[in-house]
Symmetry: C2
Subunit: 299 residues, 2 copies
Protein backbone atom coordinates (compact mmCIF):
# COMPACT_ATOMS: atom_id res chain seq x y z
CA UNK A 1 0.00 0.00 0.00
CA UNK A 2 1.27 3.41 -0.84
CA UNK A 3 1.96 6.05 1.73
CA UNK A 4 -0.82 8.60 2.29
CA UNK A 5 -0.63 12.36 2.32
CA UNK A 6 -1.55 12.40 6.02
CA UNK A 7 1.18 9.89 6.90
CA UNK A 8 3.74 12.15 5.24
CA UNK A 9 2.47 15.24 7.07
CA UNK A 10 2.47 13.41 10.41
CA UNK A 11 5.87 11.92 9.67
CA UNK A 12 7.42 15.33 9.06
CA UNK A 13 5.90 16.75 12.23
CA UNK A 14 7.27 13.85 14.27
CA UNK A 15 10.68 14.30 12.64
CA UNK A 16 10.70 17.97 13.67
CA UNK A 17 10.11 16.99 17.29
CA UNK A 18 12.80 14.26 17.29
CA UNK A 19 15.29 16.81 15.94
CA UNK A 20 14.51 19.60 18.41
CA UNK A 21 14.74 17.14 21.33
CA UNK A 22 18.20 16.10 20.21
CA UNK A 23 19.39 19.64 19.59
CA UNK A 24 18.23 20.74 23.04
CA UNK A 25 20.08 17.80 24.59
CA UNK A 26 23.32 18.77 22.84
CA UNK A 27 22.94 22.49 23.50
CA UNK A 28 22.34 21.88 27.21
CA UNK A 29 20.89 25.34 27.88
CA UNK A 30 18.62 26.62 25.11
CA UNK A 31 15.05 25.55 24.51
CA UNK A 32 12.94 25.73 21.39
CA UNK A 33 9.85 27.89 21.65
CA UNK A 34 7.04 26.85 19.36
CA UNK A 35 4.80 29.20 17.38
CA UNK A 36 1.80 27.78 15.59
CA UNK A 37 0.74 29.72 12.51
CA UNK A 38 -1.88 29.53 9.83
CA UNK A 39 -1.54 30.50 6.20
CA UNK A 40 -4.39 32.71 4.95
CA UNK A 41 -4.57 30.69 1.70
CA UNK A 42 -4.67 27.30 3.49
CA UNK A 43 -2.69 25.20 5.97
CA UNK A 44 -0.02 26.39 8.34
CA UNK A 45 2.83 25.17 10.46
CA UNK A 46 4.75 25.05 13.70
CA UNK A 47 7.96 27.06 13.92
CA UNK A 48 10.37 26.03 16.64
CA UNK A 49 13.06 28.61 17.38
CA UNK A 50 15.99 28.63 19.79
CA UNK A 51 17.83 31.87 20.51
CA UNK A 52 20.71 32.45 22.95
CA UNK A 53 21.49 28.80 23.63
CA UNK A 54 24.87 27.63 24.94
CA UNK A 55 25.91 26.47 21.46
CA UNK A 56 23.09 27.74 19.25
CA UNK A 57 22.96 31.51 18.77
CA UNK A 58 19.86 31.26 16.59
CA UNK A 59 18.28 28.15 15.19
CA UNK A 60 14.98 27.33 13.57
CA UNK A 61 13.40 23.94 13.01
CA UNK A 62 10.21 24.56 11.06
CA UNK A 63 7.43 22.23 10.10
CA UNK A 64 4.78 23.32 7.63
CA UNK A 65 1.95 21.83 5.62
CA UNK A 66 0.39 24.40 3.34
CA UNK A 67 -2.15 23.96 0.60
CA UNK A 68 -4.23 26.03 -1.78
CA UNK A 69 -3.83 27.45 -5.24
CA UNK A 70 -0.44 28.64 -6.45
CA UNK A 71 0.09 32.16 -7.76
CA UNK A 72 0.83 32.33 -11.49
CA UNK A 73 4.53 33.22 -11.12
CA UNK A 74 5.00 29.95 -9.19
CA UNK A 75 3.03 27.69 -11.52
CA UNK A 76 5.14 29.03 -14.39
CA UNK A 77 8.40 28.44 -12.53
CA UNK A 78 7.37 24.91 -11.47
CA UNK A 79 5.88 24.15 -14.90
CA UNK A 80 2.62 22.88 -13.35
CA UNK A 81 -1.08 23.63 -13.83
CA UNK A 82 -2.81 25.96 -11.46
CA UNK A 83 -4.47 23.17 -9.51
CA UNK A 84 -4.70 22.76 -5.72
CA UNK A 85 -1.30 21.95 -4.23
CA UNK A 86 0.06 20.57 -0.97
CA UNK A 87 3.58 21.41 0.20
CA UNK A 88 4.82 19.95 3.46
CA UNK A 89 8.21 19.49 5.06
CA UNK A 90 10.78 20.35 7.66
CA UNK A 91 13.31 23.15 7.23
CA UNK A 92 16.26 23.88 9.49
CA UNK A 93 19.00 26.48 9.76
CA UNK A 94 21.29 26.65 12.80
CA UNK A 95 23.67 29.54 13.43
CA UNK A 96 25.98 28.68 16.34
CA UNK A 97 27.56 31.18 18.73
CA UNK A 98 31.06 29.95 18.01
CA UNK A 99 32.88 30.35 14.70
CA UNK A 100 34.40 26.93 15.39
CA UNK A 101 31.00 25.24 15.05
CA UNK A 102 29.59 25.12 11.50
CA UNK A 103 26.29 26.55 10.27
CA UNK A 104 23.97 23.80 9.03
CA UNK A 105 20.89 23.66 6.86
CA UNK A 106 18.49 20.80 6.25
CA UNK A 107 15.26 20.59 4.32
CA UNK A 108 13.04 17.65 3.47
CA UNK A 109 9.80 18.25 1.64
CA UNK A 110 6.93 16.72 -0.25
CA UNK A 111 4.88 18.43 -2.94
CA UNK A 112 1.76 17.21 -4.67
CA UNK A 113 -0.80 18.55 -7.09
CA UNK A 114 -4.48 17.81 -7.38
CA UNK A 115 -3.84 16.05 -10.71
CA UNK A 116 -1.70 13.38 -9.01
CA UNK A 117 1.75 14.84 -9.74
CA UNK A 118 4.00 14.47 -6.70
CA UNK A 119 7.64 14.60 -5.72
CA UNK A 120 10.02 14.70 -2.80
CA UNK A 121 12.89 17.12 -2.43
CA UNK A 122 15.46 18.02 0.14
CA UNK A 123 19.03 17.98 1.25
CA UNK A 124 21.52 18.81 3.96
CA UNK A 125 24.48 21.12 3.54
CA UNK A 126 27.17 22.33 5.90
CA UNK A 127 28.71 25.80 6.06
CA UNK A 128 31.77 25.77 8.30
CA UNK A 129 33.25 29.17 9.08
CA UNK A 130 36.56 27.31 8.95
CA UNK A 131 36.69 24.24 6.71
CA UNK A 132 38.19 21.26 8.55
CA UNK A 133 38.91 18.22 6.39
CA UNK A 134 38.06 15.67 9.13
CA UNK A 135 34.65 17.24 9.69
CA UNK A 136 33.93 17.49 5.98
CA UNK A 137 34.82 13.82 5.47
CA UNK A 138 32.72 12.74 8.45
CA UNK A 139 29.75 14.82 7.23
CA UNK A 140 29.86 13.61 3.65
CA UNK A 141 30.43 10.00 4.71
CA UNK A 142 27.29 10.15 6.87
CA UNK A 143 25.24 11.48 3.94
CA UNK A 144 26.71 8.87 1.60
CA UNK A 145 25.86 6.05 4.02
CA UNK A 146 22.24 7.25 4.18
CA UNK A 147 22.01 7.56 0.39
CA UNK A 148 23.64 4.19 -0.28
CA UNK A 149 20.97 2.34 1.69
CA UNK A 150 18.37 3.40 -0.89
CA UNK A 151 20.36 3.73 -4.10
CA UNK A 152 24.13 3.55 -4.66
CA UNK A 153 23.76 6.19 -7.41
CA UNK A 154 22.13 8.78 -5.16
CA UNK A 155 25.11 10.21 -3.27
CA UNK A 156 27.28 11.15 -6.24
CA UNK A 157 24.29 12.58 -8.10
CA UNK A 158 22.94 14.54 -5.13
CA UNK A 159 26.39 15.73 -4.03
CA UNK A 160 26.94 17.24 -7.49
CA UNK A 161 23.49 18.82 -7.30
CA UNK A 162 24.31 20.41 -3.93
CA UNK A 163 27.57 21.83 -5.33
CA UNK A 164 25.57 23.47 -8.11
CA UNK A 165 22.64 24.60 -5.95
CA UNK A 166 24.48 26.05 -2.93
CA UNK A 167 26.58 28.33 -5.10
CA UNK A 168 26.87 32.10 -4.66
CA UNK A 169 27.26 32.97 -8.31
CA UNK A 170 28.17 36.64 -7.84
CA UNK A 171 30.94 35.66 -5.36
CA UNK A 172 32.10 32.64 -7.37
CA UNK A 173 32.05 30.72 -4.06
CA UNK A 174 30.06 27.77 -2.78
CA UNK A 175 28.06 28.55 0.37
CA UNK A 176 30.03 25.92 2.29
CA UNK A 177 31.25 22.38 1.74
CA UNK A 178 27.94 21.30 0.20
CA UNK A 179 26.29 18.01 1.07
CA UNK A 180 23.35 16.58 -0.83
CA UNK A 181 20.47 18.23 -2.67
CA UNK A 182 17.66 16.58 -4.61
CA UNK A 183 14.34 17.65 -6.10
CA UNK A 184 11.43 16.27 -8.12
CA UNK A 185 12.23 12.77 -6.85
CA UNK A 186 9.38 10.47 -7.87
CA UNK A 187 8.71 7.05 -9.39
CA UNK A 188 10.86 7.91 -12.38
CA UNK A 189 13.82 7.30 -10.04
CA UNK A 190 13.01 3.58 -10.16
CA UNK A 191 11.86 3.60 -6.53
CA UNK A 192 8.34 3.42 -5.14
CA UNK A 193 6.77 6.30 -3.27
CA UNK A 194 7.12 4.30 -0.07
CA UNK A 195 10.84 3.71 -0.67
CA UNK A 196 11.40 7.39 -1.41
CA UNK A 197 9.51 8.43 1.71
CA UNK A 198 11.73 6.11 3.76
CA UNK A 199 14.76 7.69 2.10
CA UNK A 200 13.58 11.23 2.82
CA UNK A 201 12.90 10.36 6.47
CA UNK A 202 16.33 8.72 6.68
CA UNK A 203 17.90 11.95 5.39
CA UNK A 204 15.92 13.83 8.05
CA UNK A 205 17.17 11.46 10.75
CA UNK A 206 20.75 11.79 9.57
CA UNK A 207 20.67 15.47 10.50
CA UNK A 208 20.59 15.39 14.30
CA UNK A 209 23.25 12.78 15.12
CA UNK A 210 25.59 14.22 12.48
CA UNK A 211 25.25 17.80 13.63
CA UNK A 212 25.37 16.80 17.30
CA UNK A 213 28.72 15.13 16.66
CA UNK A 214 30.06 18.32 15.05
CA UNK A 215 28.69 20.47 17.88
CA UNK A 216 30.30 18.15 20.44
CA UNK A 217 33.66 18.22 18.64
CA UNK A 218 33.91 22.01 18.63
CA UNK A 219 31.60 23.61 21.16
CA UNK A 220 34.26 23.92 23.89
CA UNK A 221 36.94 25.40 21.63
CA UNK A 222 38.21 28.89 22.38
CA UNK A 223 38.08 31.50 19.64
CA UNK A 224 39.46 34.98 19.04
CA UNK A 225 37.79 38.27 18.11
CA UNK A 226 39.28 37.88 14.63
CA UNK A 227 37.61 34.48 14.28
CA UNK A 228 34.30 35.93 15.47
CA UNK A 229 34.61 38.76 12.93
CA UNK A 230 35.27 36.21 10.18
CA UNK A 231 32.16 34.32 11.29
CA UNK A 232 30.05 37.49 10.86
CA UNK A 233 31.45 37.99 7.34
CA UNK A 234 30.68 34.38 6.41
CA UNK A 235 27.16 34.89 7.75
CA UNK A 236 26.91 37.89 5.42
CA UNK A 237 27.52 35.50 2.53
CA UNK A 238 24.87 33.17 3.95
CA UNK A 239 22.38 36.06 3.91
CA UNK A 240 23.33 36.84 0.31
CA UNK A 241 22.69 33.25 -0.77
CA UNK A 242 19.38 32.98 1.05
CA UNK A 243 17.95 36.29 -0.15
CA UNK A 244 19.29 36.22 -3.72
CA UNK A 245 19.26 32.55 -4.75
CA UNK A 246 17.46 30.21 -2.35
CA UNK A 247 14.38 28.77 -4.01
CA UNK A 248 12.70 27.84 -0.74
CA UNK A 249 12.97 31.43 0.48
CA UNK A 250 11.67 32.74 -2.83
CA UNK A 251 8.79 30.21 -2.80
CA UNK A 252 7.89 31.30 0.72
CA UNK A 253 7.97 35.02 -0.08
CA UNK A 254 5.99 34.52 -3.31
CA UNK A 255 3.29 32.33 -1.73
CA UNK A 256 2.62 34.68 1.17
CA UNK A 257 4.27 32.32 3.65
CA UNK A 258 4.90 33.29 7.26
CA UNK A 259 7.81 35.75 7.00
CA UNK A 260 9.26 35.08 10.45
CA UNK A 261 9.43 31.35 9.71
CA UNK A 262 10.96 31.84 6.27
CA UNK A 263 13.54 34.36 7.44
CA UNK A 264 14.51 32.50 10.62
CA UNK A 265 17.45 31.41 8.40
CA UNK A 266 19.00 34.88 8.81
CA UNK A 267 21.53 35.22 11.63
CA UNK A 268 21.33 37.38 14.76
CA UNK A 269 24.32 39.34 13.50
CA UNK A 270 26.02 39.53 10.11
CA UNK A 271 28.68 41.81 8.70
CA UNK A 272 29.84 43.23 5.39
CA UNK A 273 33.23 44.92 5.05
CA UNK A 274 34.14 46.59 1.78
CA UNK A 275 36.59 44.54 -0.30
CA UNK A 276 37.67 42.37 2.65
CA UNK A 277 40.92 40.49 1.98
CA UNK A 278 42.15 37.45 3.90
CA UNK A 279 45.74 37.20 5.15
CA UNK A 280 48.05 35.09 2.96
CA UNK A 281 48.48 31.55 4.31
CA UNK A 282 45.82 32.08 6.98
CA UNK A 283 43.07 29.66 7.99
CA UNK A 284 40.63 32.09 6.39
CA UNK A 285 42.47 31.89 3.07
CA UNK A 286 42.54 28.09 3.29
CA UNK A 287 38.78 28.05 3.88
CA UNK A 288 38.13 30.31 0.87
CA UNK A 289 40.24 28.01 -1.32
CA UNK A 290 37.93 25.11 -0.38
CA UNK A 291 34.66 26.94 -1.07
CA UNK A 292 34.41 25.60 -4.59
CA UNK A 293 32.54 22.97 -6.51
CA UNK A 294 33.86 19.48 -7.08
CA UNK A 295 35.83 18.76 -3.91
CA UNK A 296 35.63 15.01 -3.27
CA UNK A 297 35.41 14.54 0.51
CA UNK A 298 34.67 10.82 0.75
CA UNK A 299 37.37 8.98 -1.22
CA UNK B 1 22.87 71.63 -29.12
CA UNK B 2 22.07 68.45 -27.31
CA UNK B 3 24.19 67.11 -24.55
CA UNK B 4 26.73 64.43 -25.57
CA UNK B 5 27.36 61.04 -24.04
CA UNK B 6 30.80 62.14 -22.92
CA UNK B 7 29.43 65.26 -21.22
CA UNK B 8 27.06 63.10 -19.23
CA UNK B 9 29.81 60.69 -18.20
CA UNK B 10 32.11 63.55 -17.19
CA UNK B 11 29.26 65.31 -15.41
CA UNK B 12 28.50 62.27 -13.26
CA UNK B 13 32.17 61.81 -12.38
CA UNK B 14 32.42 65.45 -11.32
CA UNK B 15 29.22 65.10 -9.29
CA UNK B 16 30.71 62.12 -7.45
CA UNK B 17 33.74 64.20 -6.44
CA UNK B 18 31.64 67.18 -5.32
CA UNK B 19 29.61 64.87 -3.10
CA UNK B 20 32.54 63.05 -1.48
CA UNK B 21 34.24 66.37 -0.74
CA UNK B 22 31.13 67.60 1.06
CA UNK B 23 30.62 64.35 2.98
CA UNK B 24 34.22 64.37 4.17
CA UNK B 25 33.80 67.96 5.36
CA UNK B 26 30.71 67.06 7.37
CA UNK B 27 32.16 63.83 8.75
CA UNK B 28 35.32 65.60 9.89
CA UNK B 29 37.33 62.39 10.35
CA UNK B 30 36.73 59.80 7.63
CA UNK B 31 38.16 59.89 4.12
CA UNK B 32 36.96 58.21 0.97
CA UNK B 33 39.37 55.74 -0.57
CA UNK B 34 39.02 55.35 -4.30
CA UNK B 35 39.20 52.07 -6.19
CA UNK B 36 39.29 52.15 -9.98
CA UNK B 37 37.85 49.08 -11.64
CA UNK B 38 37.23 47.79 -15.13
CA UNK B 39 34.35 45.67 -16.31
CA UNK B 40 35.42 42.65 -18.39
CA UNK B 41 32.56 43.31 -20.86
CA UNK B 42 33.42 47.02 -21.28
CA UNK B 43 33.83 50.21 -19.25
CA UNK B 44 34.36 50.48 -15.51
CA UNK B 45 34.15 52.90 -12.67
CA UNK B 46 35.55 54.52 -9.58
CA UNK B 47 34.23 53.39 -6.20
CA UNK B 48 34.77 55.77 -3.32
CA UNK B 49 34.27 54.18 0.10
CA UNK B 50 34.46 55.58 3.62
CA UNK B 51 34.54 53.21 6.60
CA UNK B 52 34.89 54.10 10.28
CA UNK B 53 34.30 57.83 9.94
CA UNK B 54 33.12 60.00 12.83
CA UNK B 55 29.55 60.01 11.49
CA UNK B 56 29.69 57.52 8.63
CA UNK B 57 30.10 53.88 9.64
CA UNK B 58 30.15 52.74 6.00
CA UNK B 59 29.39 54.78 2.95
CA UNK B 60 29.90 54.33 -0.75
CA UNK B 61 29.73 56.94 -3.49
CA UNK B 62 30.18 55.08 -6.76
CA UNK B 63 30.62 56.33 -10.27
CA UNK B 64 30.42 53.94 -13.20
CA UNK B 65 30.20 54.05 -16.97
CA UNK B 66 29.80 50.59 -18.40
CA UNK B 67 29.04 49.53 -21.96
CA UNK B 68 28.77 46.38 -24.02
CA UNK B 69 26.06 43.92 -24.92
CA UNK B 70 23.37 43.04 -22.40
CA UNK B 71 22.67 39.45 -21.36
CA UNK B 72 19.33 38.08 -22.61
CA UNK B 73 17.62 38.12 -19.19
CA UNK B 74 18.26 41.88 -19.02
CA UNK B 75 17.16 42.72 -22.56
CA UNK B 76 13.92 40.88 -21.85
CA UNK B 77 13.36 42.69 -18.56
CA UNK B 78 14.12 46.09 -20.10
CA UNK B 79 12.15 45.30 -23.29
CA UNK B 80 15.05 46.41 -25.50
CA UNK B 81 16.97 44.85 -28.39
CA UNK B 82 20.29 43.24 -27.73
CA UNK B 83 22.29 46.17 -29.08
CA UNK B 84 25.31 47.85 -27.53
CA UNK B 85 24.36 49.80 -24.39
CA UNK B 86 25.87 52.47 -22.19
CA UNK B 87 24.89 52.80 -18.53
CA UNK B 88 26.47 55.54 -16.45
CA UNK B 89 25.66 57.17 -13.15
CA UNK B 90 26.38 57.81 -9.51
CA UNK B 91 25.08 55.57 -6.73
CA UNK B 92 25.27 56.27 -3.02
CA UNK B 93 24.38 54.51 0.21
CA UNK B 94 25.46 55.89 3.59
CA UNK B 95 25.11 53.92 6.83
CA UNK B 96 25.89 56.19 9.79
CA UNK B 97 27.32 55.04 13.13
CA UNK B 98 24.48 56.56 15.08
CA UNK B 99 20.87 55.35 15.01
CA UNK B 100 19.88 59.02 15.34
CA UNK B 101 21.29 59.80 11.87
CA UNK B 102 19.28 58.36 8.95
CA UNK B 103 20.52 56.00 6.24
CA UNK B 104 20.38 57.64 2.82
CA UNK B 105 20.45 56.41 -0.76
CA UNK B 106 20.83 58.36 -3.99
CA UNK B 107 21.17 57.25 -7.55
CA UNK B 108 21.25 59.20 -10.79
CA UNK B 109 21.79 57.37 -14.04
CA UNK B 110 21.71 57.56 -17.82
CA UNK B 111 21.09 54.64 -20.15
CA UNK B 112 21.33 54.55 -23.90
CA UNK B 113 21.18 51.96 -26.64
CA UNK B 114 22.96 51.84 -29.98
CA UNK B 115 19.63 52.40 -31.75
CA UNK B 116 19.23 55.83 -30.17
CA UNK B 117 16.90 54.91 -27.30
CA UNK B 118 17.91 56.77 -24.14
CA UNK B 119 16.57 57.67 -20.76
CA UNK B 120 17.50 59.08 -17.38
CA UNK B 121 16.57 57.55 -14.06
CA UNK B 122 17.28 58.12 -10.42
CA UNK B 123 16.05 59.23 -7.06
CA UNK B 124 16.88 59.93 -3.45
CA UNK B 125 15.24 58.22 -0.50
CA UNK B 126 15.77 58.47 3.23
CA UNK B 127 15.65 55.64 5.78
CA UNK B 128 15.62 57.05 9.30
CA UNK B 129 16.00 54.49 12.07
CA UNK B 130 13.61 56.78 13.96
CA UNK B 131 11.20 58.79 11.84
CA UNK B 132 11.21 62.47 12.88
CA UNK B 133 8.52 64.62 11.28
CA UNK B 134 10.69 67.77 11.06
CA UNK B 135 13.41 65.89 9.22
CA UNK B 136 10.96 64.19 6.89
CA UNK B 137 9.36 67.54 6.02
CA UNK B 138 12.74 69.18 5.45
CA UNK B 139 13.89 66.30 3.25
CA UNK B 140 10.76 66.13 1.10
CA UNK B 141 10.62 69.94 0.80
CA UNK B 142 14.18 69.97 -0.55
CA UNK B 143 13.30 67.33 -3.15
CA UNK B 144 10.11 69.14 -4.11
CA UNK B 145 12.00 72.42 -4.57
CA UNK B 146 14.46 70.71 -6.93
CA UNK B 147 11.66 69.02 -8.87
CA UNK B 148 9.54 72.18 -9.13
CA UNK B 149 12.32 74.06 -10.92
CA UNK B 150 12.00 71.68 -13.88
CA UNK B 151 8.37 70.61 -13.80
CA UNK B 152 5.69 71.29 -11.16
CA UNK B 153 4.23 67.83 -11.87
CA UNK B 154 7.45 65.94 -11.12
CA UNK B 155 7.45 65.87 -7.31
CA UNK B 156 4.03 64.35 -6.74
CA UNK B 157 4.58 61.81 -9.52
CA UNK B 158 8.07 60.82 -8.40
CA UNK B 159 7.15 60.79 -4.70
CA UNK B 160 4.39 58.25 -5.45
CA UNK B 161 6.84 56.24 -7.52
CA UNK B 162 9.33 56.16 -4.61
CA UNK B 163 6.59 54.96 -2.22
CA UNK B 164 5.89 52.09 -4.60
CA UNK B 165 9.49 51.28 -5.43
CA UNK B 166 11.07 51.38 -1.96
CA UNK B 167 8.57 48.91 -0.56
CA UNK B 168 9.46 45.68 1.24
CA UNK B 169 6.52 43.65 0.03
CA UNK B 170 7.04 40.65 2.32
CA UNK B 171 7.20 42.95 5.38
CA UNK B 172 4.38 45.21 4.22
CA UNK B 173 6.64 48.13 5.13
CA UNK B 174 8.27 50.91 3.14
CA UNK B 175 12.06 50.97 3.42
CA UNK B 176 11.93 54.41 4.98
CA UNK B 177 10.11 57.69 4.40
CA UNK B 178 10.62 57.51 0.63
CA UNK B 179 11.66 60.51 -1.42
CA UNK B 180 11.61 60.60 -5.20
CA UNK B 181 12.16 57.89 -7.80
CA UNK B 182 11.96 58.16 -11.59
CA UNK B 183 12.92 56.02 -14.53
CA UNK B 184 12.80 56.02 -18.35
CA UNK B 185 12.66 59.81 -18.32
CA UNK B 186 13.08 61.03 -21.92
CA UNK B 187 11.62 63.48 -24.45
CA UNK B 188 8.16 62.02 -23.92
CA UNK B 189 8.18 63.96 -20.63
CA UNK B 190 7.87 67.17 -22.66
CA UNK B 191 11.41 68.25 -21.76
CA UNK B 192 14.53 68.24 -23.91
CA UNK B 193 17.46 65.98 -23.17
CA UNK B 194 19.40 69.00 -22.02
CA UNK B 195 16.64 70.04 -19.60
CA UNK B 196 16.43 66.52 -18.20
CA UNK B 197 20.19 66.33 -17.76
CA UNK B 198 20.07 69.60 -15.84
CA UNK B 199 17.28 68.13 -13.71
CA UNK B 200 19.21 64.94 -13.00
CA UNK B 201 22.32 66.91 -12.03
CA UNK B 202 20.16 69.12 -9.80
CA UNK B 203 18.85 66.00 -8.05
CA UNK B 204 22.45 64.86 -7.60
CA UNK B 205 23.41 68.24 -6.15
CA UNK B 206 20.44 68.20 -3.78
CA UNK B 207 21.92 65.17 -2.06
CA UNK B 208 24.94 66.57 -0.24
CA UNK B 209 23.53 69.76 1.32
CA UNK B 210 20.36 67.95 2.37
CA UNK B 211 22.13 65.00 3.96
CA UNK B 212 24.78 67.29 5.52
CA UNK B 213 22.00 69.19 7.23
CA UNK B 214 20.54 65.96 8.64
CA UNK B 215 23.99 64.76 9.75
CA UNK B 216 24.61 68.08 11.46
CA UNK B 217 21.24 68.00 13.23
CA UNK B 218 21.80 64.58 14.80
CA UNK B 219 25.45 63.61 14.82
CA UNK B 220 26.11 64.79 18.38
CA UNK B 221 23.03 63.16 19.91
CA UNK B 222 23.54 60.47 22.54
CA UNK B 223 21.95 57.08 22.01
CA UNK B 224 21.32 53.93 24.04
CA UNK B 225 22.18 50.28 23.43
CA UNK B 226 18.50 49.67 22.75
CA UNK B 227 18.54 52.32 20.04
CA UNK B 228 21.70 50.82 18.53
CA UNK B 229 20.06 47.37 18.54
CA UNK B 230 17.02 48.84 16.76
CA UNK B 231 19.36 50.37 14.17
CA UNK B 232 20.85 46.92 13.43
CA UNK B 233 17.35 45.47 12.97
CA UNK B 234 16.38 48.28 10.59
CA UNK B 235 19.59 47.64 8.67
CA UNK B 236 18.47 44.01 8.37
CA UNK B 237 15.38 45.28 6.56
CA UNK B 238 17.62 47.42 4.35
CA UNK B 239 19.59 44.29 3.40
CA UNK B 240 16.33 42.47 2.65
CA UNK B 241 15.19 45.24 0.30
CA UNK B 242 18.50 45.51 -1.50
CA UNK B 243 19.02 41.78 -2.03
CA UNK B 244 15.41 40.82 -2.78
CA UNK B 245 13.92 43.80 -4.64
CA UNK B 246 16.41 46.45 -5.68
CA UNK B 247 16.64 46.59 -9.48
CA UNK B 248 20.03 48.29 -9.51
CA UNK B 249 21.52 45.52 -7.39
CA UNK B 250 19.91 42.88 -9.60
CA UNK B 251 21.13 44.64 -12.77
CA UNK B 252 24.65 44.74 -11.33
CA UNK B 253 24.67 41.08 -10.31
CA UNK B 254 23.19 39.99 -13.65
CA UNK B 255 25.58 42.05 -15.80
CA UNK B 256 28.72 40.83 -14.05
CA UNK B 257 29.26 44.19 -12.37
CA UNK B 258 31.92 44.71 -9.71
CA UNK B 259 30.49 42.94 -6.66
CA UNK B 260 32.23 45.04 -4.03
CA UNK B 261 30.86 48.22 -5.61
CA UNK B 262 27.34 46.84 -5.95
CA UNK B 263 27.22 45.44 -2.42
CA UNK B 264 28.80 48.47 -0.74
CA UNK B 265 25.14 49.21 0.08
CA UNK B 266 25.21 46.48 2.76
CA UNK B 267 26.02 47.66 6.29
CA UNK B 268 29.01 46.79 8.46
CA UNK B 269 26.64 45.10 10.90
CA UNK B 270 23.01 44.03 10.61
CA UNK B 271 20.78 41.95 12.83
CA UNK B 272 17.75 39.67 12.60
CA UNK B 273 15.81 38.65 15.72
CA UNK B 274 13.02 36.13 15.40
CA UNK B 275 9.57 37.71 15.56
CA UNK B 276 10.83 40.95 17.10
CA UNK B 277 8.05 43.06 18.64
CA UNK B 278 8.27 46.73 19.49
CA UNK B 279 7.09 48.09 22.85
CA UNK B 280 3.62 49.67 22.81
CA UNK B 281 3.76 53.48 22.55
CA UNK B 282 7.54 53.44 21.99
CA UNK B 283 9.48 55.51 19.46
CA UNK B 284 10.10 52.24 17.59
CA UNK B 285 6.38 51.59 17.32
CA UNK B 286 5.79 55.15 16.12
CA UNK B 287 8.46 54.68 13.44
CA UNK B 288 6.89 51.43 12.23
CA UNK B 289 3.50 53.14 11.99
CA UNK B 290 5.04 55.70 9.58
CA UNK B 291 6.75 53.16 7.32
CA UNK B 292 3.88 53.06 4.88
CA UNK B 293 2.96 54.45 1.50
CA UNK B 294 1.08 57.69 1.00
CA UNK B 295 2.29 59.84 3.89
CA UNK B 296 2.20 63.47 2.71
CA UNK B 297 5.22 65.22 4.25
CA UNK B 298 5.13 68.56 2.44
CA UNK B 299 1.70 70.07 2.96
Amino acid sequence: MSITKQQIIDGFRALQLRITTQLEAEDGLGHFREDAWERPGGGGGFSRIMEAGAVVEKGGVNFSAVHGHLPENITKALRVDNAEFLATGVSIVIHPNSPMVPIIHMNVRYFEMENGTWWFGGGIDLTPHYVIADDAQFFHAALKATCDKTDPAFYSKFKLWADDYFYIKHRKETRGIGGIFFDRLNEESGHTKHQLWDFVLAVGDTFAPTYRALMARHKEEKFTDIQRQWQLLRRGRYVEFNLVYDKGTKFGLDTDGRIESILMSLPTLASWVYDHKVEPNSEEEKTLSLLRKGVNWVD
